[in-house]
Structure formats: structure tokens, C-alpha cells
Amino acid sequence: MRNLRLLLKRNRIWVGVAVLAAIFSNLSQMIYTYYVGELANRIVGRTMIGLAFLAVLGGFLVSNAVTQFLNQYFGRFAAEKMAHSLRMGYATRLLRKATNDREGLSVSSAMSVAQNELAQADAYLGNTFFDVFGMAFTGILATIFLLLQDILLTLTLLLPTVLILVYVRFSSRKLSGIVSSTQTEKARMNQVVYSAVSAFPAVKVFDGEALCKGAFRKRLLAWEGHATKNGRWHALYNTLSGILSRVPLLLLLLVGGYMVIRENIQIGTLIVFLNLQKSLTLSIMNLPSWLSGFQVFTTNLSRVEIE
């Protein structure tokens, strides 16, 4: 987390811009959704749909596109900036502490870090980092927005969602332990290979090939054990959360449909809920993998020494 804070602080301007863009993009999407609901209401109520209304709808459609573009653009840009800081920070640190007296070990661990932790953290930053935050925004903003529309229906949607969240929290904690031990084993396995290469003179003169191969096999087995366990638990948790995520939609249709029939709410409100429910549940459904991805990222990051 220290490293993440450092990266965020070093790029605070771009990170700030990216966060603002994410907020605007989400807001604009929600207002647009609101107007779509309003359109449905007018159709059902046989009210005039004026030119002004259509203009507003069109305007938000355009602003939707623009803010979405800015959101993606600045999100990627800020992430790329952070990835640069990470690589530079690692190189700086390495140069500062580089000593030549333990060639075999220190070169191999530096190479192992560069090829594993650094490369993975780098890839994560470039691909997913701001998406996670975008999804979190969507969830929070959608909830607030829905509460303003209808409290009872929002609760119908939120209650099962909260239950899912509790489940996700529990499962991600379980997963993170497995993830980090898998990574440790992978790093050790790679370190054996790199050190066998960088220390080849010693391996050759002292006939250590069998030793290296044996050590590699042992590490490979340990890693395989962790990796299969890792895959199994991920599959299980993702499947369960996938099934759980269907519950909110079902409840929403049943309760919301009933309310529309009883004329407690308008059809437009239900349409707004149905629309936002998708993004809300989608973010929750993917939460375990995002959280564990984020976990992998922070674990990786904590193993990279930067300056």
C-alpha cells in the first residue's frame, strides 16, 4: 500500500483528472438513463414528446459519448503514467543498492522481480486499474440515484446486494491467502531458474545441474499444488457469485412489476431501475475477480522495492 500511495501521489494531477472524468461519465450516464425512463412514462401516459425533450435526450447522448471517451482516455493515461513511475522507481532503487558481491543471488532475485512482480503490476496498471475504480463509482452513484427515485424499490435491490457483498468480502479474504502463496511459489520457482543461469560457472564446476533441476522440480510441484487450489477456489466463488447476482434482478422484476401494476410507481422508474441494476449487479458479480486481481496487484507491488 505504501507503494500504491507513492505512485498515486507522484501522479496526483493525472489521477485526479482520471477520477473526475470517471465521475462525470457516470453522472452523465445516469441522467441519460433518467430521461429514457421519462420517455417511457410519456409514451405510457400518452403525453406530448416535444422537440425540447428530444433535444435534451440527444444532448445527454452526446455528453455520454464524450465523457465516456474522456474517462477511458484519462484512465489509461493516468495508469500508464503510474506504470512509468513504477518502472523508474524500481530502476532507481536497483541502481542505488546494486552490489556485485553476490552475483548469483542478487541478479537472480532482481531478474525474478522484474519478470514477475514488476511485469504483472505493470500490466495490471495498464489494463484494469482505473476500471475497478470506475465500477466502484458506478455502484455508489447508482445507489444514491436510485434512492432518490424510490426508497422501497432501492431497498429491494440493495438487500440481496448487501448479502452478496458480505459473501464476496468473505470469499475474497479466503482467496487472497491462496493467491499470495501461489505467487510466492512462482517467484521461488523462477528464482531457481534465473540463478542457475546467472551462476552457471559454479553450477558447472561443482556439477550442480541435478541439484538445480531437483530444486526446480520441487518448486514446480509446490507451485502447481497452489495454482490448482487457486483455480478451483476461484471457479467456485465466481460461480456462486454469478448465481447470487441473478437474485436482485428477479426480485426487482417481481416487486417492481407489482408496484407498477398497483400504480405505486411509474413504468419509467422501473425502467431506470432495470437499467442501472445491470451495471450495479455486474460490478458486484465481478467483484471477487476484481478484488483478487487488485489483491494480486498490491501483493506484487509490495514486493517491488521502489524509490
Binding site: 552490489t99 556485485n100 558481491d101 553476490r102 552475483e103 548469483g104 543471488l105 542478487s106 537472480s108 532475485s109 521461488r188 528464482q191 531457481v192 540463478s195 542457475a196 546467472s198 551462476a199 560457472p201 559454479a202 553450477v203 558447472k204 564446476v205 561443482f206 556439477d207 550442480g208 541435478a210 541439484l211 538445480c212 531437483g214 530444486a215
Partner: protein, 222 residues
């Protein structure tokens, strides 16, 4: 015992030796001094069968295939080159040796005291704590490894460069004792470490010049 005949060796473009010859009798103790970068480490690596000469031949104990030469020599490389394994594995390199022998080489390399402070002793895993290992500790493990193999030819490439005076003196004495019945080539930039050696060679411009063993170290150090 060790013979180099008109050896030529280059790293990519860099020519290190062109016509290098050397003959070392069985059991001789030979010291090698010279400016850094003149090719001392390269010479030891050639003799250890780690490099193949571009021209000429290297023979150790009648053997001239580099692969087989490697089996006949033991070397303390200029850098320790440890593996992310236990201390024991780094010393034995996976070969079977008696506990008593391993204990002896650890004692000779001044490792015993340090090893006793470790929670897992000689079976302590070095991989996760590479950064906690001092240069001196790493070098002493490399020396123990070289002694453990117990080959008839012992090549030492600045074996005590990372050790403090006290450790260096103790380890050098142990190495002298250990090398009594062996052929020893010792590269060092400290001629006073070569007292009692049969020959001292100075490497200059890719050639080896014979120096007077009895007074060379005094001449240099005075």
C-alpha cells in the same frame, strides 16, 4: 599437471590472450598478480573448463576436454554465485558428503559461528534472505563449497576480497593447510597473501611473467 599451450581467447571483440603458455607441476602453489582487467579471472575460468580457448589447448591432469576438466578442479570464483537453496545445498551442491566433512569445511571457512546463530542452522534457506547475507558470508560459503569438492586442483580468484582482516587471515590459513597436497592457483591483488608460494606470476598485456617468489611480495609491499 596444468598446461596451457599457445592459448588464444577473446570475448566477442575483446582480445584477452593471444599466445599464452603456462605449465604448473602437480602440487605446486602458484600465485598470480596483475592489474585488474588484465585477464586473471579469465585465465582461471579457462583452466576450470568454463571457457573453450579459441586456439591452443588447456590440459589438466592429462584431460583436455573442458567438460571433463570441470570435474577435476575446484574454484572460488571472484563472485560467490550462490543459489536460492539452503546453505548445505550451496556447499555440497547436491552431492553426498559425510556430516563430519561438511562440519570441517564449515569450520575451515569460518562459517560455524554464524551458522550456529541461524534458526535452521546449515539447513537455512537462502532464497528469501539474499539481501540479508553479507558479502563476506556469501564468499565464505563459496570457499566452503570449493573445499567440500576436494578436487586435486584448487583455483582461487581473490577468495578473501570481501572478508575483513581477521576472517581473511583465518580463512587463508585454512586454505593453505587445505591446499598442502593440492595444486593451487591463487589470484590476488595482495601479494602478502602469497607467502610461502612456490611461484609468483605477474600477468601483463596478456602474458604471464615469472617473478621471484621469495622476494616478490616484499618488493611489492614495501
Amino acid at each position: 599437471m596444468i598446461e596451457l599451450k599457445n592459448v588464444a581467447f577473446t570475448y566477442q571483440e575483446k582480445i584477452v590472450f593471444q599466445e599464452l603458455s603456462l605449465k604448473v607441476e602437480k602440487g605446486q602453489k602458484v600465485g598470480i598478480v596483475g592489474e585488474s582487467g588484465c585477464g586473471k579471472s579469465t585465465l582461471l575460468r579457462l583452466i576450470a573448463g568454463l571457457y573453450r580457448p579459441a586456439e591452443g589447448g588447456v590440459t589438466v591432469d592429462g584431460e583436455n576436454d573442458p567438460e571433463k576438466i570441470s570435474q577435476k578442479v575446484s574454484i572460488v570464483l571472484q563472485t560467490p554465485m550462490l543459489l536460492p537453496l539452503t546453505i548445505r545445498e550451496n556447499i555440497t551442491m547436491g552431492h553426498a558428503f559425510s556430516e563430519e566433512w561438511i562440519r570441517q569445511v564449515c569450520a575451515a571457512s569460518n562459517l560455524t559461528k554464524w551458522i550456529e546463530t541461524l534458526p535452521n542452522g546449515i539447513d537455512t534457506y537462502l532464497g528469501d534472505r539474499a539481501d540479508e547475507l553479507s558479502g563476506g558470508q556469501a564468499q565464505r560459503i563459496a570457499i566452503a563449497r570449493a573445499m567440500c569438492k576436494n578436487a586435486q586442483v584448487l583455483l582461487l580468484d581473490e577468495p578473501t576480497s570481501a572478508l575483513d582482516g581477521e576472517n581473511a587471515a583465518a580463512v587463508l590459513e585454512a586454505l593453505d593447510h587445505f591446499g598442502e597436497d593440492k595444486t593451487v592457483l591463487h589470484v590476488t591483488h595482495r601479494p602478502e597473501h602469497l607467502v610461502g608460494y612456490d611461484r609468483i606470476l605477474r600477468m601483463e598485456g596478456g602474458k604471464l611473467l615469472e617473478a621471484n617468489a621469495s622476494c616478490a611480495w616484499r618488493a611489492v609491499s614495501l
